[in-house]
């Protein structure tokens, strides 16, 4: 019995830690959704683009790890800059649907660019962290928790705190929240929308890079990252599109639930329910709590 409980805890903890990876990707979506009320379909491509560039710098140009990281950050800021100038600004004042379509297009451009620059083969990314259980925890707590999962969890946690502080206490953050609430009113009091857009897309780019590094270290840097990133969709539906804590909790929830379902219910379906179980959960949320767990409720005064 004790073994079974231990196993259950292990499954849940493993799921939660894997969930932080979903959270990381979902964070990127939330940032952009907050500022322009658009689901950024190119987020997956950004993840792929960012991490492929990072690995490319390291492997093709022998750039050291830290420098490659900053080069990739710099590159993602350039991508943000170009997106603002070439996609968002010409589409200003168009409907949100138009913007949505534009992000799909942007996604294809980024995918193509990344592959044109760095090639199509799967690359290994070695962060120096192994995808094996941490011995200390395995010995003392009898839980098998992968080092990479734990690292991802810590990194995700750090980014959340950083972003929350950025939004809550900086001038830019205030501007961003103002734009998220009412872009027209924000521009009427002189908040320059283009700066806010640039900030948001750059931040989303950096988040994409970090998410890509975590995913890439585990599964290899490859095209499949683009689709993996779409796992963030049920995370966002559950957590709420506009909430940073929501993205985190939603990610954890999806991670834990899909692992538990896979292990305990999976066998009845012949396994591999991980792939679709989150979407079933998302459908229930859409039916019964469409704003998600933490989505900003529409404020109605009576």
């Amino acid at each position: 019995m004790a073994d079974q409980i231990l196993f259950f805890i292990e499954v849940v903890v493993g799921g939660l830690l894997a969930g932080t990876m979903y959270s990381l990707v979902a964070l990127g979506f939330v940032l952009i959704y907050k500022a322009s009320a658009t689901f950024n379909f190119s987020q997956g491509a950004m993840v792929f683009f960012a991490v492929l560039a990072f690995v490319g710098f390291m492997q093709d140009f022998n750039v050291p790890f830290v420098l490659a990281f900053f080069l990739a950050v710099f590159l993602m800021i350039i991508v943000g800059l170009c997106t603002e100038r070439l996609v968002l600004r010409p589409l200003m004042n168009q409907s949100e649907d138009t913007l949505l379509m534009a992000t799909i297009g942007l996604g294809y451009v980024l995918e193509g660019l990344a592959q044109a620059m760095w090639g199509v083969e799967v690359r290994r990314l070695d962060l120096g962290i192994k995808d094996f259980p941490i011995p200390w925890i395995a010995d003392n707590l009898k839980l098998f928790i992968s080092a990479i999962d734990l690292t991802a969890g810590i990194v995700a946690f750090g980014m959340i705190i950083g972003l929350t502080l950025l939004f809550k206490y900086t001038k830019m953050g205030l501007g961003l929240r103002a734009v998220a609430d009412d872009a027209g009113a924000a521009s009427s009091i002189g908040i320059p929308l283009k700066h806010i857009m640039l900030l948001v897309w750059s931040a989303a780019g950096v988040v994409a890079l970090v998410a890509g590094m975590m995913w890439g270290a585990r599964a290899g840097v490859q095209f499949a990252l683009v689709d993996l990133a779409l796992k963030a969709l049920p995370v966002l539906i559950i957590g709420g599109f506009s909430s940073i804590p929501g993205a985190i909790i939603g990610g954890l929830l999806i991670g834990a639930v899909e692992k538990v379902l896979e292990v305990y219910i999976g066998p009845f379906f012949g396994g591999a329910i991980e792939g679709w179980a989150p979407y079933v959960l998302a459908i229930f949320f859409l039916l019964y709590r469409p704003e998600g767990l933490f989505g900003e409720k529409i404020i109605r005064r009576v």
């Binding site: 929240r177 027209g184 009427s188 009091i189 002189g190 404020i299």
Partner: protein, 273 residues
């Protein structure tokens, strides 16, 4: 030019078209003298908001365009500027319908108005105290979420937020909309106080003709995108046509401005006959 005429804002024969086809303003000419309050009056769809937006350059975001005439503000021709440049030049518009940031607190809303200025934390607090001096009610509610405050408070937030940008000129779009008479009076008192103590010039679009004229120096009445009548606030308040059409003081009920003109035309014809 403005220093000679004493006007902070001058519109000459301004024409505005939306979506390249819809003519919203035919011909608007108006002046706002420095340090005065000018009322822009008219019914729904007369072109009040469009006039204000053509000045603050918010038109572009609604696919509108000034296609004729000139707008001159503080000695500069307004052509290619964007709203944030206008704010930097000291011109701030308070949009129709208040448009507070609902999820931000009252205080965050007001502070956001200072975004365009490079102020230290201390300066911001100082400015904030000054603003609260005018909007005492907001100080009590500083920590509440703006979306849950009353309509009157939201209107005050919108004006307070605009004042944080330290404007030379305020464009107010229907501050009285949907508010109880007592609150309307309160808000107009604050606007007057700001005008007197801070020296802000005000161009005020209103449907509430009575309150607006009582609180301003000069008035323009526009209908279907044209200035139909102008004069000092006092003279407009005593004008028979204004009384009948906009103040509802008439034996025959409400009429359209054009009908009155037509009737007058008929009367003249009769006299000739």
């Amino acid at each position: 030019m403005s220093s000679v005429s004493g006007n902070i804002l001058e519109l000459k024969n301004v024409k505005v078209v939306y979506d390249n086809v819809i003519l919203a303003l035919h011909d608007v000419t108006l002046n706002v003298p420095k340090g005065k309050i000018v009322a822009l009056l008219g019914g729904n769809g007369a072109g009040k908001s469009t006039t204000l937006k053509s000045i603050s350059t918010m038109l572009a975001s609604e696919r509108g365009k000034v296609t004729g005439g000139t707008i001159n503000y503080d000695g500069n021709a307004i052509e290619k500027q964007n709203p944030s440049q206008m704010v930097n030049m000291g011109m701030v518009q308070v949009l129709e319908g208040r448009r507070c940031f609902g999820h931000l607190t009252v205080e965050e809303n007001i502070i956001s108005g200072a975004y365009s200025r490079k102020l230290s934390r201390g300066d911001i607090n100082q400015e904030l105290e000054k603003i609260y001096g005018y909007f005492i009610r907001l100080k009590e509610r500083r920590k509440s979420q703006a979306g849950f405050t009353s309509g009157g408070e939201q209107q005050m937030i919108a004006v307070a937020r605009a004042m944080m940008a330290k404007p030379k000129m305020l464009l107010l779009d229907e501050p009285s909309m949907g508010l109880a008479p007592q609150l309307v009076a309160e808000i107009f008192n604050i606007v007057k106080e700001l005008n007197e103590k801070e020296g802000v010039s005000v161009l005020l679009a209103e449907q509430n003709t009575n309150v607006a004229l009582k609180n301003s120096d000069h008035g323009y009445i526009i209908e279907t995108g044209k200035v139909m009548l102008e004069g000092t606030a006092k003279s407009l308040l005593n004008d028979d046509k204004v009384k009948e059409l906009y103040l509802g003081i008439s034996k025959e009920g409400r009429k359209n401005f054009r009908d009155v003109l037509k009737e007058e035309g008929k009367k003249k014809k009769k006299k000739v006959n």
